[in-house]
Amino acid sequence: MLDQQTIISSGNEAAAHAIIDIGYDGEGYYPITPSSEVGEYVNRAYAQGEIDLSFVVGTSELAAISTVAGMAIAGGRAVDVTSSQGLLLKAEELPALAGLGLPVVLNLATRDVNAPLNIKNGHSDLAATLGWGWVTLCAPTVQAVYDLNIIALKIAEAVNLPALVAYDGFHTSHANRRIKVFTDRRAVREFIGPEPPRRLSLLDVKHPHTFGPYMNDDLINTKVLIDQKMEKALKLLPRIFEEYAQLSGRRYQFLEVYGAPDAQVALFILNSAAEASKVAVDRLRQEGRSVKLVSPTVLRPWPADTILQTLFSVDRILVAERVSQYGANNYLANEVGAVLQRSADHNLILSRTYGIGGLNFYPEDAEYLFRLALNFPNVPDHEKRWKGYYQAWAGDRDARPVAKTAPISSAEVTRNAGKDRVDLRELADMPHRIEKHSACPGCGLFSNLEMFLRGIDGQVVFFFNTGCGMLVTTGFPSTSFRVPYFHNLFHNATSTATGAIEMYQRLRRQGKMDDEITFIVVTGDGGDDIGMDQVIGAALRNDPMIVLEYDNKGYMNTGGQLCYTGLLGQRFTNANVGPKQKGKLQHHKDIVEILRGTHAPYLFQAAESNFRDLLMKARKAQKMVREGDFVFGRFFSPCPLNWGSDPRMGFRIVDKFAPVTEAIQQEVDRRWRRLVEMDANPAL
């Protein structure tokens, strides 16, 4: 066995530790909770000069995985991390990587795919990948996250397929445990192979190849290849597991089985919940119950023969999944059933969905499920079903909601129309369209938005991108919005608004809609990285909406990661400061200049520090949008949480900002001179 040291690590840190020990050539990165930290730890080591890898922060998940594809086709070892809808945004590229035979590794800190939005655990992201041709390993513990990352690259390169390491978001990604890691990185490198096995490379100019051709009738053969590689992986994995056990003392297998070998009842369950279930197995066996736990470490290739051997003599199997396949039996229940039809026994298979949205799964929960299987069908009526939900609740059917507020009439919120000058006191009395929220003290978003809304008359409908703004206002079952509001995930608000505006205009034309509505999109600066194309689309179509970007110079809802709006040298959790990296390497993105190319009628910038200007811009924005034009406004918005500033400084930071570095000042001056020239020369 090799020398190892004890460290305290979270699941995300363990993934990063493995990435660092392996010595990847590159990482493509885009943040999404709960996997974001992996790239942050890797970048920290990079900034400190501890490792040499290309670390590229993409504009989206799709951009990040495409960068990884580029690294891999150029012969590099490349890795990425993701969760939930981040995985789905990559989805275009993921089956392609299998088809192209690129042995990259993707860490998946699982999180439910959903709307209404929940950022916690669920396996619907993992379930979506099952048919994409990826070798898939499940890590139930923090230790396994480290180990399986190393094993994943080894098997991926052995068969030329991409590999995925799935571990539970929060339950494992954020669990801190005592684990063992190799003392000497070179040992890991030796196990993996110092250099990747030879494969075709895009950079081989002496022998050029065409990668990613167009293919007609031949395509079906590429599918055969993927399946053959899976079969090969099935043969190789036991050998790799054994080799790794020799080095580490930790032995992995296709299935983790715990309990009575000849058990009559089995619980089939993935990842962190399987660990908790072991406690239940011990308790039930002390009672004399014949039970065992079966948890697959390898999901793809599906170890059907091993599963058959392990389960064929078991009378009752409860397959508990952190995912549901609606209107059908759940994913693994079906797969277990398909394996067991080869057994002569008629095993009883129950399917239950549990733990979605991060509901914790404790030993008591496993005990409940074991007892359900033991006693079936002598169980309460609501449990007498093949498929069901555990931990869901019906609610109080007799509860009668009491109205606490009434609609805002257009008259109450019309304070600007027809007036050249307005009295601040009169505007201060205007009813709030957004009520109490849980933003951090001193958050600039709501100061800006509140002030802007003072200048907007009449009915308003909001669209929010994902970010602090939506999170602190709409925690179910409460809402801060007295007016209609729609959050349609991440970066989609502008296009969503376009759809709603089309329907609004249609109803107006048909004479079915009396109310005049101003449509306002609210997004963070991050929403306009990942959603840049959609903003440009709305501007090019000149859709009559006001898009407001609160620019706090980072992805502040997800822990302060790099946004392209960030300043040169600004430190982010994924753009660290050290001997090898000085924070963000480029100047700040100028979104107004980007949008100028769309020739949108009105683009503005504002800040709460200059509220008169902000109010005038609000009034002008509404005038423009009423005339059928697209409006984009950018607010400079303090984030005391991630700027580490005193909340009371708030708008004063914006007003009397701290001196900036010379490099930033020069760039700002350069951009300003350009604007002055454009102003002096209208033809520009």
């Binding site: 339950h171 991060g358 404790y362 869901a392 609740w393 109080d396 109490k436 809402t479 708008f651």
Partner: protein
């Protein structure tokens, strides 16, 4: 390695500790440090888990540490539901959170408050055990340290962690605030008031809460929509979650409206988070 005895052991061999605080109080860092000491200096094992969501400054959050002897399998994930030791960073949490649910008999409870142990016992409805109270906010202010320091000090003391080891770890973790932190540490241990409470028929043990609410699948609106009329978050007068709040003196008000300009909180005259931008 030092000889160390865990103060509690459940059926699986764990001491369960829960820290309940507001986002920004530093409970996470305190728990992380204690766990590090437990593993590295005392050769214990266990886990450190938080109730993660997307907590912002000032919203309630939990962190848990579970400690066991090295060699005991660590299998559960997520925060403990059955704490033996409870550290409450804000008195308001005693009133607003169901902290007694899952709390074990003969528990050790530490509360940042100006109230005394018996008053807290009644508010908390503690079944039995020891309550320590201290004005951690005052200690943090006086020493220019942070709230997590006095709370960490009392918890480490109750755990029986050797003071020198804890102090050394604090110095290493926050080298720049070492003096202030150590001053807070010393002051906290000296100032905590402690009282033991026997079981009382009016304060029974309470099972851990199950996740549930009046709105479930039987009465949820299509797509999980929220009816604005009945579910609006209206500002209510309440204790400020963090620090100080400005006092509104109507007789001195000139009705210029300027204080409302930077205010991020609608209805802040009633409910203020204390960012102090308006003063």
């Amino acid at each position: 390695m030092l000889e160390y005895r865990l103060p509690y052991q459940d059926g699986l061999g764990f001491t369960n500790i829960l820290l309940t605080a507001l986002g920004g109080d530093g409970a996470n860092m305190a728990a992380k440090l204690l766990f590090k000491i437990a593993v590295e200096a005392l050769n214990l094992d266990g886990g450190y888990d938080a109730k993660y969501g997307s907590e912002k400054t000032g919203t309630p959050t939990d962190v848990s540490i579970r400690l066991c002897l090295y060699g005991t399998p660590v299998r559960e994930s997520g925060p403990t539901r059955r704490p033996h030791m409870l550290s409450v960073f804000r008195e308001t949490l005693v009133l607003t959170q169901n902290l007694v649910a899952g709390l074990q008999a003969d528990a050790t409870v530490m509360v940042n408050t100006t109230k005394g142990p018996s008053e807290i016992r009644e508010l908390l409805r503690l079944p039995s055990g020891k309550i320590l109270t201290l004005d951690a906010t005052r200690i943090a202010t006086e020493t220019q340290s942070r709230l997590n320091m006095p709370m960490l000090a009392v918890l480490a003391h109750q755990l029986g962690f050797p003071g020198e080891i804890v102090k050394e770890a604090i110095g290493k973790q926050w080298p720049r605030a070492k003096e202030a932190n150590l001053a807070a540490f010393e002051m906290a241990v000296g100032r905590a008031r402690s009282e033991r409470f026997e079981p009382h028929p009016e304060y029974p043990l309470v099972e851990p809460a199950r996740v549930s609410s009046p709105v479930g699948y039987a009465n949820m609106l299509n797509g999980g929509a929220i009816d604005a009329f009945s579910n609006i978050s209206i500002p209510e007068r309440g204790a400020p979650p963090l620090g100080r709040v400005p006092v509104f003196a109507a007789e001195h008000c000139s009705h210029c409206g300027l204080c409302l300009v930077p205010c991020p909180d609608p209805g802040a005259i009633v409910y203020c988070k204390g960012c102090m931008q308006c003063v």
